[in-house]
């Protein structure tokens, strides 16, 4: 063998190596090749809607006056048949108060913590596997949950308090007139029951924010867009999530500078609450009672009726007025 040529064995080894790696590269390219262009935008295809009402239960409305929010809450629940009518043993319950803003209870921008606490306590007593209190807040979540008093009240009553985390939003097609694919907090997709507990307060665009508007707090993303057709958006939210029960807290109501408020001069102490299994009727009643609005002035009510979510004619429902 002269000095310039390699032997056959080396030749085969070296060319074998080159051929082997080339084969891997070619096979990899062919296997991973995506011949069809990937769609750059995807809408979640399957429409998901969560009707968490108790099957067969008809709409009822109960109003309570009194001087203790917790006792008033208990009375309302008792009047509607007791908590066990709504919560079964082993249920995962998500309680949705309004915790939108960094405000103290007396500023009436968030749901009264005593009402939330009583609802949680009763759910736990009814044997719920887990009671979760959460909200997608506007202001810094730590401040909102703590300053509203809701974190402390809910935890004390036995709930898990969960501040919204990025990883827990899921893209869901709500199949609404205005709301298609939205980022929804996953608790609302997984819960067996949902109790919506808004506070009655003023709002610049809709004039008043009550039960269905409170469902704003189940979605994330650029939810400010919803204002462009707020009434259809609210009705779509109510259609996506039909709560087991709605309780409107009106211990204090915010009359001006809503939905945040701040000045105590804008707050009126009404010492009331109202509960219903019909999320349309309760909004109609509360809007009229607290803000003097007729059903036609609350645009989402007609749209919600048209979607079959309930009736704005609350007078047609069994109605009870209590004082405790």
């Amino acid at each position: 063998m002269d000095g310039t040529n390699i032997d056959r064995r080396t030749f085969l080894q070296r060319s074998g190596k080159a051929i082997g790696f080339s084969a891997v590269a070619i096979a990899g390219g062919v296997l991973l090749h995506e011949p069809v262009r990937q769609p750059f935008h995807r809408e979640a295809e399957q429409v998901i809607q969560r009707d968490l009402r108790i099957p067969g239960m008809t709409g009822r409305l109960v109003t309570v006056r009194g001087d203790d929010p917790a006792r008033m809450t208990a009375a309302a629940l008792a009047s509607l048949g007791g908590i066990s009518t709504f919560i079964s043993e082993g249920d995962v319950v998500v309680v949705k108060p309004n915790v939108g803003w960094d405000r103290r209870p007396e500023q009436a921008a968030n749901t009264n913590p005593d009402v939330v606490g009583e609802v949680v306590r009763q759910c736990v007593e009814a044997g719920a596997a887990r009671v979760l209190v959460t909200d997608v807040t506007c202001n810094d979540a730590t401040r909102c949950f703590n300053r509203s008093g809701i974190a402390a009240a809910a935890r004390e009553a036995g709930a898990d308090v969960e501040l919204a985390r990025d990883a827990h939003f899921r893209e869901v097609n709500m199949g609404g007139a205005m709301l298609g694919t939205q980022l929804v907090y996953d608790a609302y997709l997984e819960a067996d029951k949902c109790i919506n507990i808004p506070i009655a307060k003023h709002h610049g665009l809709t004039r008043v924010t009550l039960g269905m508007k409170n469902l704003y707090g189940i979605i994330g993303g650029n939810r400010a867009r919803l204002h462009q057709d707020i009434n259809n958006s609210i009705a779509d939210l109510g259609n996506f999530l039909q709560p087991t029960l709605v309780i409107v807290d009106a211990w204090r109501i915010l009359l001006r500078n809503g939905p945040q408020g701040g000045s105590l001069a804008d707050v009126e102490e009404r010492r009331m609450l109202v509960a219903s299994t019909d999320q349309v009727a309760i909004d109609a009643w509360a809007g009229e009672e607290f803000f003097g609005l007729r059903a036609e002035e609350m645009g989402w009510l007609g749209l919600a009726e048209a979607r079959g979510l309930g009736t704005a004619d609350y007078a047609s429902l069994p109605f009870e007025e209590l004082t405790v």
Partner: protein
């Protein structure tokens, strides 16, 4: 054998433990720079941990801010403790305490072809580049005399706080968030049981539930990575050659009573001391020991097999120099450069003339002129901000103001009841204010706010982008979010025609500049993504009486 009885080995181990504990403390304090749950709705959020500890014991920050402000702010008085300790003991801070130094130490300890044996011994001998840091220090002192706290750009504690808070922790959060997300949705078939512990661990170790982002951080990243990578070429290059705090402590260490005693007769020339030297200070008997360069890491004495060197109180100063080897001319030139740099930079951006319309400073910030005498760019305000509203500037405050805080409301607005940035600011660039003094929202037990609010700017509409103005669509999300009472954003209901000529009622928002505090909640919430339809400029800011639009009623009872 002398080796096994070498008492300096205990000291070396003690130094290792000390480095570890102080690094841990640094990280814990960094992570504690936020508020925990409140016990009651009336409680004011406070930061309980002494989160500025490392910044406040820092003589470089103390000395430069004394030069620029002629006062020693709040807890910076603690720096006196470290100054006195250094005057007695030398640069032990560099070797035993400094978290930046410990990172460099650890990285330089990794062996490589270049970083072992005779290469390492040669590289550890004192070199002229080690004088650079004294030049840098003097430039910083000159700049401080001229009224600018630029020292913070290269102060190791400010630098590490900034790099950790704006880069390392957020990057960790991105990673953890992604793994957590993945563990919630992944399908691994038979291995699904593995996902639960993964999601527990990632959930528990997430730093922020909502991911933070920081703008203008690329140069911060380059500087930090550069410092770390330099250790692959020269042991603790940053500490030896560039660190202005190390230089300042080096100057103080000239008079320290602890020195290295060399027993030349015992030395066998094994070079172990030089192999492990951190400071580059020539510990070997026969060489001249550079006292100001020594970190007192104890590596040399612990690795000496013959007891040929030892640290002693009050030893003979044989084979020792306390000189910092920087010429008087170099000192004068550096001081001059530092002092002249400030007026030169101010020919481009002058603190008395606010120029950049996006430079919204945090609430409580002093007038720009005083602000620049104090802000050390440590990034604590950005770290503590619950809304990710504060970001380091690039050129918005001029080259002189680089990496100082600015509000970017598109990313996060100033939380109305929050004053945390003013609480953590170690130098008072942001004056320590209370929620009541900020006066954006009535505090507990108050019907209304007292007195005028601390304004940081005013909001303006871009009516070419605003939905009701430009596109005849309902919106007024800005009004919903406006936190003042009464709201500074109000609306006028007007009749308009849409494209098809149909009449419709629209609410057109307006800003009342006499009430707007400039928090930027409107900008943050504005659904017009990209450039927002409402934006905040610093005009009207309380800190500068000349930066005003409105002629204001000065009579009592008016704001």
């Amino acid at each position: 054998m002398a080796t096994s009885e070498n008492r300096f080995r205990y000291l070396r181990n003690a130094r290792r433990v000390s480095q570890g504990l102080f690094f841990l403390l640094f990280m814990v304090l960094l992570l504690q720079t936020n508020i925990d749950a409140l016990d009651s709705p009336d409680e004011l959020p406070q930061i309980s941990a002494p989160v500025d500890f490392f910044l406040e014991i820092n003589p470089l920050i103390a000395v430069t801010t004394v030069l620029s402000t002629h006062t020693l702010y709040r807890n910076l008085i603690l720096a006196v403790v470290l100054i006195v300790a250094t005057l007695f003991l030398g640069r032990f801070f560099c070797g035993w305490v400094c978290p930046m130094g410990s990172i460099n130490h650890a990285l330089a300890a990794i062996k490589s072809r270049r970083m072992k044996g005779r290469h390492r011994i040669g590289q550890n001998a004192w070199k002229p580049y080690q004088r650079w840091k004294y030049g840098i220090l003097v430039v910083m002192l000159g700049a401080a005399l001229a009224g600018s706290a630029l020292a913070g750009l290269l102060d190791p504690i400010s630098l590490l706080t900034r790099s950790m808070a704006l880069l390392v922790l957020p990057a960790y959060n991105v990673l953890t968030q992604d793994v957590y997300s993945w563990s919630l949705h992944a399908q691994l078939g038979a291995f699904d049981f593995l996902l639960t512990p993964v999601s527990w661990v990632t959930y528990a170790t997430l730093i922020r539930a909502e991911q933070v982002v920081f703008h203008h951080t690329f140069l911060i990243l380059l500087l930090f990575v550069g410092i770390l990578v330099a250790n692959r070429f020269i042991t603790r290059f940053w500490c030896r050659g560039l660190c202005p705090l190390g230089a300042l402590l080096g100057v103080f260490s000239k008079v320290s009573i602890v020195s290295l005693e060399k027993r030349t007769a015992l030395c066998t020339d094994c070079n172990r001391c030089a192999l492990h030297c951190q400071g580059g200070d020539n510990p070997k008997p026969g060489d001249t020991w550079h006292k100001t360069e020594c970190h007192l890491c104890m590596n040399c004495v612990a690795s000496c097999p013959e007891a040929g060197i030892a640290f002693r109180f009050f030893p003979q100063r044989e084979q020792t120099t306390t000189a910092v080897n920087i010429s008087r001319r170099a000192v004068l030139a550096s001081a001059g450069a530092g002092m002249l740099a400030i007026p030169v930079l101010r020919t481009a951006t002058h603190p008395d003339r606010p120029s950049d319309p996006t430079l919204v400073r945090p609430p409580g910030s002093l007038h720009e002129r005083e602000f620049l005498t104090r802000c050390i760019r440590c990034g604590e305000c950005m770290n503590v901000c619950p809304n990710n509203a504060l970001h380091p500037t690039f050129m918005q405050a001029g080259a002189e103001g680089i990496w100082s805080p600015m509000l970017i409301p598109r990313i996060g607005y100033c939380e109305p009841t929050c004053v945390l940035c003013s609480q953590v600011c170690p130098t008072g660039a942001i004056d320590e204010i209370t929620e009541e003094e900020k006066a954006w929202v009535p505090t507990a037990g108050k019907q209304e706010t007292d007195g005028p609010p601390i304004r940081i700017g005013i909001a303006f509409y871009d009516t070419g982008r605003c939905l009701p103005y430009a596109m005849a669509r309902e919106c007024i999300v800005c009004e919903e979010w406006c936190p003042t009472t009464p709201k500074s954003i109000y609306f006028e209901e007007v009749e308009q025609r849409d494209r098809d000529g149909n009449y419709m009622y629209l609410k057109l928002p307006r800003v009342d500049p006499g009430i707007c505090v400039g928090c930027g909640a409107c900008t943050f919430a504005c659904p017009v993504k990209g450039a927002p339809a409402i934006y905040v400029t610093p005009v009207g800011e309380t800190r500068n009486p000349q930066n005003r639009i409105l002629l204001e009623d000065q009579s009592p009872g008016r704001q």
